[in-house]
Structure formats: C-alpha cells, structure tokens
Amino acid sequence: MEKQNLLEIRNLKKYFSTPRGELHAVDNVSFDIERGKTIGVVGESGCGKSTLGKTLMRLHDPTSGEVRYKGEDIASMPLSVFKKKYRADIQMIFQDPYASLDPRMNVIQLIEEPVRVNSKDLGKEEIRKKAREMMELVGLAKRLENSYPHELDGGRRQRIGIARALSLNPEFIVCDEPVSALDVSIQAQILNLLQDLQRERGLTYLFITHDMSVVRHISDDIAVMYLGQLIEKCPAGEIFKNTIHPYSRALLSAIPIPNVHEKRERMVLKGELTSPIDPKKCCRFAARCPYATDQCLETEPALREMRPGHFVACHGAEKFLS
C-alpha cells in the first residue's frame, strides 16, 4: 500500500527576536503527516509545539523551511494567496475554550462566522442552515443557539470551537491542546467526538498536547519535541514499549499512573527547561541528560531512523536500542 502524505514539513524554522537574543521556537523540524492519520506532538511548555501548529496555520510566518501541502509549498507563498486557497483546508481547534470564543457573540453567530466570511455568495438562510447542521454534528442542542459562551460549560464551548473549524470542511486540523482545559469526564466526550469526526470525514489531525495518555489514545504517530527540535518520532505503540531518547523516557516515567500497585522506576531529571535563546551547537538535552558524553556537548545529533518508522535524534541511540 502506498502511503500518501498530506503534509511534508522540511527544515521548518520559526525564530522570534527577543531582547535577549533569537528565540529558536521551532528549529529545523522535518516530518511527514499521512492523510487520514493523527500525529501527536508532545513536549513540555516552551518546547515549541504550539508555535509549530500556528506556523503550519500561517498564524505565524515561518522564518525558513518548507511546508508542502498536497505537494505545494504553503510556507513561502504570500499570505493573501494562502488565505484564498488554503485557509478553509487547514483549520485549528484552540486550547482554551474559555478565551478563544468572542464573549459578545452567541452560539449561532459564532458558528455562522467562518461560513459567512469565507463564502460571500451564500444567503442568510443558507448560512444559518449550515450552522445548524454543524451544531447537530458536534452534538450541540438546538436550544443553545442563542446562548452566550459564558453560560456554557467547557465541554460545550469546545464543541463550538470544533464546529467553527469543521464548518469550512477542512482536511487538516491542528488541535492545540483541545482537552487540557477540560475535566476528565468531558475530556472523554471531546476525544470521542474528534475520533468519530475523523472516521466520518477522513480528517488528518496534528494533535498537540502535554498529556501522554491522551496522545497515546488518539495518535497513530507520536513526535516528541524538546526546546524547538524534534527529538523522536515513531508509531504510537512503539514509544511506550521501545522508547529510545532519554528525554522521552524521562517524560514517560514522570507521568503519575492511577494504579496503586505499579511502582515504577522513575528517572528524575536534573534542572529545568531553559528557553532556546541563541542555543549552542550541541544536543539541547545534554545539560540535563544523565548519559551525556563529550560528543553530546560538541555536536548536534541528527534525526536518524533506528527502526522502521522510528526516528531519533540522539548520539547514544544505539546504546538505548534494547
């Protein structure tokens, strides 16, 4: 079977200039996203995962690199062309359903808005009809049409966010921590909804999260980011069984597991995440890595395929390949 890549990201960079120097938020990231699949991007705050998502959306302009969407580079085309051609195709679901909805609009206005601004030829009735379809699709009761976001709970607000993204019939959706602001019981509802929609409509997701159990549940592939760089990418099942990169392993071992009998060996990392401002040419994890060697402090490891489909950026990868 031939794999079909919907997105091919090559050497994508996004730097921000700050008073303290260049912040390498996304640094030389390359990977592919297969059509109809979900790729989970995990990492701690400040690792650049949200910036990556927003750069793909062209909410940030990339510093350099290519993003090929169906073969065409969307990173370098003028923003106006991108908006006209691909805005509807690539959509985003935001993290905080409390802050990402305009408090002065009611539910139906919020859901109508994307259709209204993107298809100017549609009449009032058609727009309303489309919005109502969307409400039904994401499971929002019709009686909520005139409610305002402040009257609704987090789960319903996130459904509005999903309806807004879906009403443009996108093919690719960047989900930026869509459930991290929700309670567990509501989180399950939203995750199921996202999976159902993917199945029905053949959607492709880039799922950004810091929650390892959520990412394992929803993703086909998982990419781990650290200080702006992609350090490990592999199929979802693989990362929990055969983690290679020491950082990924530390990340996994740090998750508290709701099981009283399982007492795991925990790999506690030294120090804390710094921000990638004018980073040195070396492994960015070396300073916290318990296995760091001189080589790690001198050269930057490249992403290598250690097993089929399993890419790692670590000089000692062979050692950890148990």
Binding site: S185, I257, P258, V268
Partner: protein
C-alpha cells in the same frame, strides 16, 4: 484523645448571591490522622477548594456561608474561633499551598524575607534566626540557600512552587493543604515537586490534604482517597480500596474515562451529560441523572453514607438492602 488530627463533621457551605444559592459543600465528614495524606479528587465545581478554604477559615466573607458542621483540629472547633485565634493557627498549625505559584509570591520582596516573615509572625525569635531558618528551608526544598537574596522573578515556575512550599512549611505545620500544587507545572517538574513533597512529609510527619483532579497523583502520593461530586463525598477509603475496588458508579466511570497508558481502548467511556450544577441540585442523589446504574429509587431518595467495612464508605443506594436493581438503562444526555 484520638489520633485524629483533623475531623470534619457534616460540613455544609453555601455561596449566596442575590440570584442563586450555590450548594458548594453538602454534608461532608471525614477524619485525617496524624502523618496521613488524604487525596481529595473531583472535577471542577465539586467543592474541593471550598472545603479547603472552609478548613482554613479563608472563605470569602459575606458570599460564603457555613450553614452547619464542625471542623475540629485536635478537638478544637475551628469554625467557632475568632479571626484573631484563626490567624494564629493559619501558617503555624495549618498551611495552604495554592495552585498558581506565580501569583502566590510577593514580587517586590526577596524570597528569604518572605519565608522569614512567616517565621517571625508565629515564632518568637530574632530576625537573624528567622533568616537562618529561611535558608534552611530553601535548602530543604532543593534550592541553594545562598539564593535567599533573590527575588521571585529570578526563579522558574517549578522553583517558585518550591519556594511557596518552603513558606508553607517554615513553621512546621501539623497540616498542609495543597490545592492542585502541580497542575500549572510540566510533568517532569511535577515529578520533582511530588518527590520532594513526599520526602518532606515523611521527614516531618506532616499530615496533608492533597487536592487534585489527577487520579495518577493520588495513586502515587496518598494513603486515603476521597472522591467528591457536586459537593458531596461520594466515596472514601484507602487508596488501595478505592482504586482496586471502586464502588460508587461515579468513581468507576471516572476511571474508565481516562485514556490508559498501557491498554489500547478504541473508544473512551463517557459519563453522559455534564457536571451537575451546584446551584440547582436535585433533592435526590446528585449523580442519578448521569448514572448508568440509576433506577427509580435513585430519583426519589438521597442516599446516606454507607460503611462497606474497613473504613471504605460510599454514598450510593446500590449497596443498601432496599436496592431494586437496574430497571432501565436510560440516562439523559445533554
């Protein structure tokens, strides 16, 4: 005297405004032994923080109203105490850590001053002695003591939470209430902080109430676990009992709704509907409308807390002799 440090009895707290009465905490009772860690789990609006503030005597005045109940610390009812008496207890005998370490520290004072301030407030000692204590505390939470002259903005998020913990523990309190102490932090930092808290707790024998929505954190840290729903304590027991044999349908459903790290699940279990609004609680079981096991009597009776043996209590009609069984599986969804 019993070995209970804290015992909360039939506590009811309402928030009253002109438009509505929010029944935040409804008739909850629990005990906390010396040196024990109790995990208080529940979703947003379950009344966890209100319970904690009620114990601390820090409920917002005018709006919050303690309707009934008692909170006894070593046999003295905290709810009957004057503000003056409470001020002596807060920080000295009971301390609280809040969720957001960024806002809990005073930005224009050095961290050393902030820790020694608490010491000076409660213990008779010289300024130099208090400062020495502050440095000792910093060392204890894993920060180089020499940094006592630094200001909060010079520390990272995880470090700030360590400092907040140092302030809370400076007077060696008997009880520490930690309200989601690691929610704002990354997992690797969370692991560091939890490890540190557990070690400090063991060394000092401090009792602790750990408020969290993360069942994993409870499993790792706590001896006992209390599950709250709509201001009620629906299940209480040792973590082993509650995690291995959850009895209340809500607790069970909660477990099944979190994605597992080691098992592949095609679809997650969903608790239908949304979190019961504490401003309009039913007169019957608050969970009945979302419960998969609910039957007719669940929508007429409010269950009483039932001891299943070994201190494992549950507030559900399923375990009473009158239980009629499941009559229909119909549950209302939103």
């Amino acid at each position: 005297m019993s070995d209970n440090l804290l015992s909360v009895r039939e506590l009811v707290i309402h928030y009253e405004t002109d438009e509505e009465v929010v029944e935040a905490v409804n008739n909850i009772s629990f005990d906390l032994k010396k040196g024990e860690i109790l995990g208080l789990v529940g979703e947003t609006g379950a009344g966890k923080t209100t319970t904690a503030l009620g114990i601390m005597g820090l409920l917002p005045p005018k709006v919050a109203n303690v309707i009934s109940g008692s909170v006894e610390l070593d046999g003295n009812d905290l709810l009957r105490m004057t503000d003056r008496q409470m001020r002596k207890i807060r920080g000295k005998r009971i301390s609280m850590i809040f969720q957001d370490p960024m806002t809990a520290l005073n930005p224009v004072k050095t961290v050393g001053d902030q820790i020694s301030e608490v010491v000076l407030l409660h213990d008779r000692c010289s300024k130099a002695e208090a400062l020495r204590r502050a440095q000792e505390m910093l060392g204890m939470v894993g920060i180089v003591p020499e940094r006592y002259r630094d200001y909060p903005h010079q520390f990272s998020g995880g470090m700030k939470q360590r400092i907040v913990i140092a302030i809370a523990l400076a007077c060696r309190p008997d009880l520490l209430i930690a309200d989601e102490p690691t929610t704002a932090l990354d997992v690797t930092i969370q692991a560091q902080i939890l490890d540190m808290m557990r070690n400090l707790q063991k060394e000092n024998g401090t009792s602790m109430i750990l408020i969290t929505h993360d069942l994993g954190v409870v499993a790792e840290m706590c001896d006992h676990c209390a599950v709250m729903y709509a201001g009620e304590l629906v299940e209480y027991g040792t973590v082993e009992a509650v995690f291995d044999h959850p009895k209340h349908p809500y607790t069970e459903a909660l477990y099944r709704s979190i994605p597992s790290l080691d098992k592949d699940v095609e679809r997650l279990h969903v608790i239908p509907g949304m979190v019961t609004d504490p401003a309009s609680l039913p007169a019957y079981c608050s969970f009945a409308d979302r419960c998969g096991d609910a039957c007719g009597m669940c929508r007429t009776l409010d269950p009483k807390v039932l001891d299943l043996g070994g201190g494992h209590t549950v507030k559900c009609l399923k375990y009473t002799s009158k239980w009629e069984g499941k009559t229909d599986g119909k549950t209302e969804s939103a």
